[in-house]
């Protein structure tokens, strides 16, 4: 019974990591860069949804759509202003820029919304829990898992079937060759950021529905853990992000429940180190062949 309870808690936490990891993996897979500001775009999305619900009295679905719209715009702007000029720069420069962007977003949020934590309002997402015998599953968990599956399938179909999706895969495979074939690389990468950021808004709403405290640093720790999940599952692989996220959540909860609550975070990051040592490309990552 306690085992099942913990398993459900783990799935619930893991599904949150998974949905954030999808954003990381999507951008990494196509633009080949680690967008460390992703966690903070999530935070901005959550704040916009919070404002929609709390101040403007919007219905939840409209508030989420508003958050998606703002985040999409934000993602494209960040990409255009900060990352595009560095397209030819070393990956280290881009990484540092992303970290800088992350702090910039946190401080902007601090300016606009202040430091006092806000509690995310109740919506249909965190309604009554569902009870099966003694077990209870919060409705936020069910929504998160559903959203994960829908997004994963939609993203897989999008990259496999649509013209833009094909362009994305081409850019991912060989940026130079894609450009020679007449693919607009900048537009493709912009589009990737637009999708990734819209997903961030959804992740933000789901994150804050499960853990309803909203402050400027809300996105950073889940962001780092989700990044771990993305690496665990194989960064760049969409199903990998999903599996990595869920597994990491279950590992974290089991570690806390059966080893020690004090070591929860340590266990999560130990997993990252072990994965990098044993299987550097992650569970579902494609092996990279180095040309010598």
């Amino acid at each position: 019974m306690i085992f099942l309870d913990n398993l459900i808690n783990g799935l619930s936490l893991g599904s949150i990591y998974a949905i954030i990891a999808l954003g990381y993996t999507m951008v990494y897979g196509i633009a080949k860069m680690l967008n460390f500001a992703h966690g903070d775009v999530i935070m901005i999305g959550a704040y916009i949804a919070f404002c929609g619900l709390q101040y403007w009295g919007l219905p939840p679905v409209i508030a989420i759509l508003a958050a998606m719209a703002v985040c999409t715009l934000l993602g494209v702007t960040i990409e255009g202003l900060a990352y595009r000029p560095l397209r030819q720069a070393t990956s280290l420069a881009v990484l540092i820029t992303a970290i800088g962007m992350s702090y910039l977003l946190q401080n902007i949020a601090l300016m606009i919304w202040g430091a006092n934590p806000k509690s995310f309002p109740r919506t249909f997402i965190n309604g009554a829990s569902i009870r099966i015998g003694q077990l209870s599953i919060s409705s936020a968990t069910i929504w998160t898992i559903l959203a994960n599956i829908v997004i994963m399938v939609a993203l897989t179909l999008f990259t496999a079937k649509t013209k833009m999706g094909k362009a994305m895969r081409c850019v991912s495979e060989d940026r130079g060759a894609a450009e020679l074939m007449g693919i607009n690389v900048n537009r493709t990468i912009s589009m990737t950021f637009a999708i990734g950021s819209a997903l961030a808004a959804i992740a933000g709403v789901l994150l804050c529905s499960s853990y309803p405290i909203l402050q400027p640093t809300t996105g950073s720790m889940p962001g780092i853990k989700a990044f771990t999940a993305a690496v665990f599952g194989g960064i760049g692989s969409i199903p990998g992000a999903m599996i990595g996220g869920v597994l990491l959540g279950v590992i974290e909860i089991f570690g806390k429940a059966y080893i020690s609550t004090e070591l929860g975070d340590a266990i999560v990051f130990a997993v990252l180190i072990v994965v990098l040592l044993v299987k550097p490309t992650g569970l579902l990552g494609k092996p990279v062949r180095e040309k010598v």
Binding site: I2, I213, E252, I253
Partner: protein
């Protein structure tokens, strides 16, 4: 040499200027240091506003003392608090009302110990705040007292015997209260059935709550600030787990979180010396003025700081502090005076010993219909 000179100066002033000074009110320059921005801003603003109300009352009364309040922001940060402390002294502060939160207060108090600056903290409650420092005094309970007082309260009022404790093991405030709570609980025959921890970054409390629930806890003791507490209440509600949640002063403020579903906090108890809905004359006067000035109901921290200004004035009167007296000189006089005075304030009757810890009776409030009520 400087000290001797200062003493001589003081003696001369006393001999020659007594009659002249008596007519003119003494101006006390008091610096409030607390987090008026940052994660703990709710507390820093409360202590600042409470102090402002008291200062205004004293200034309007045209008595023997005038208060000049200086405010410095420490952002609840152990590095920034030193800057705030230096800025306060540069601005001419003679004594410090602060700092609001424990960790910064330990840092600033230690610096003040070296520099000989007097601190009266409204709400920093860890032992380390006053430990090995003769210059720091507290208005609130020291953490050990909060932990043992909570255990005493629970045992005396028969709230239950099976207790779960969830605490932040990265925070001295939380661990300090937990330690004495556990020790006192054992003496009172209360059984700790579950004990789990978390850190500052934790947002998922499902394991901690499940452990308390599966071990049949009747009371969950939460020695922490309100942010993690609000997440614990949410998880417990999702799991349909309804024990008595018992918090300490850090729980105060949970009802002020924007967007918080206050029904989650229904029935939560907390150890507090002040409840804004109490009907005694002092409380009503303070709450009315506070609401008029800042548009919100004061929390305990505000009441502590309000008392703080009055305590400083009472001690300054006893010590014979004069306008423009240097902080080093003020410090030693205030330390002696604090141990002699007894102040009957908003938060109870208080006396101090040389350790700097306060003595007063513990009281606990319950949240009913979104308001704190004394049983």
């Amino acid at each position: 040499m400087k000290k001797v000179f200062a003493l001589l100066m003081a003696a001369c002033m006393l001999l020659s200027g007594v009659s002249a000074l008596a007519d003119e009110a003494v101006t006390l320059k008091i610096a409030h240091i607390g987090p008026t921005t940052g994660a703990a801003a709710l507390y820093g603003l409360a202590t600042l506003h409470g102090a402002e109300i008291a200062a205004q009352e004293i200034n309007e009364a045209n008595g023997a003392f005038k208060i000049e309040l200086i405010n410095e922001d420490d952002e609840h940060n152990v590095e920034k608090v030193i800057n705030a402390y230096n800025a306060a002294l540069d601005a001419g502060a003679q004594m410090i009302l602060g700092t609001t939160t424990s960790k910064p207060c330990e840092a600033a108090g230690a610096q003040g110990y070296t520099d000989r600056v007097f601190f009266l903290t409204p709400s920093a409650s860890s032992t380390a705040v006053i430990e090995d420092k003769d210059n720091v005094f507290q208005i609130c309970f020291t953490d050990p007292n909060q932990g043992s007082a909570s255990a005493q309260y629970i045992a005396e009022h028969g709230l239950g015997t099976k207790i779960a404790v969830i605490y932040n093991n990265a925070d001295v405030y939380s661990t300090g209260i937990r330690d004495t709570f556990v020790a006192e609980a054992a003496e009172k025959g209360l059984e700790i059935v579950s004990e789990t921890t978390f850190t500052d970054e934790t947002t998922d409390f499902s394991v901690q709550v499940a452990d308390a629930q599966n071990n049949g806890a009747e009371i969950v003791f939460l020695p922490m600030y309100y942010t993690p507490a609000s997440l614990i209440l949410k998880v417990a509600a999702d799991k349909d787990f309804h024990p008595i949640f018992f918090g300490v002063d850090g729980m105060d403020g949970i009802l002020g979180v924007e967007g918080f579903d206050t029904s989650l906090a229904e029935g939560v108890m907390l150890l507090t010396p002040f409840v804004a809905t109490a009907t005694d004359e002092k409380t009503v006067n303070f709450v009315t003025k506070y609401q008029k000035a800042y548009g919100e109901i004061p929390i305990q921290f505000a009441a502590d700081a309000y008392d703080g200004i009055y305590i400083l004035v009472a001690a300054a009167e006893k010590a014979g502090i004069t306008s423009g007296m240097e902080p080093e000189e003020v410090c030693d006089l205030m330390i002696a005076a604090m141990q002699e005075i007894s102040v009957d304030g908003l938060t109870g009757s208080m006396t101090w010993d040389e350790s700097g810890a306060v003595t007063k009776t513990p009281m606990a409030a319950t949240i009913v219909n979104g308001e704190y009520v004394f049983e």
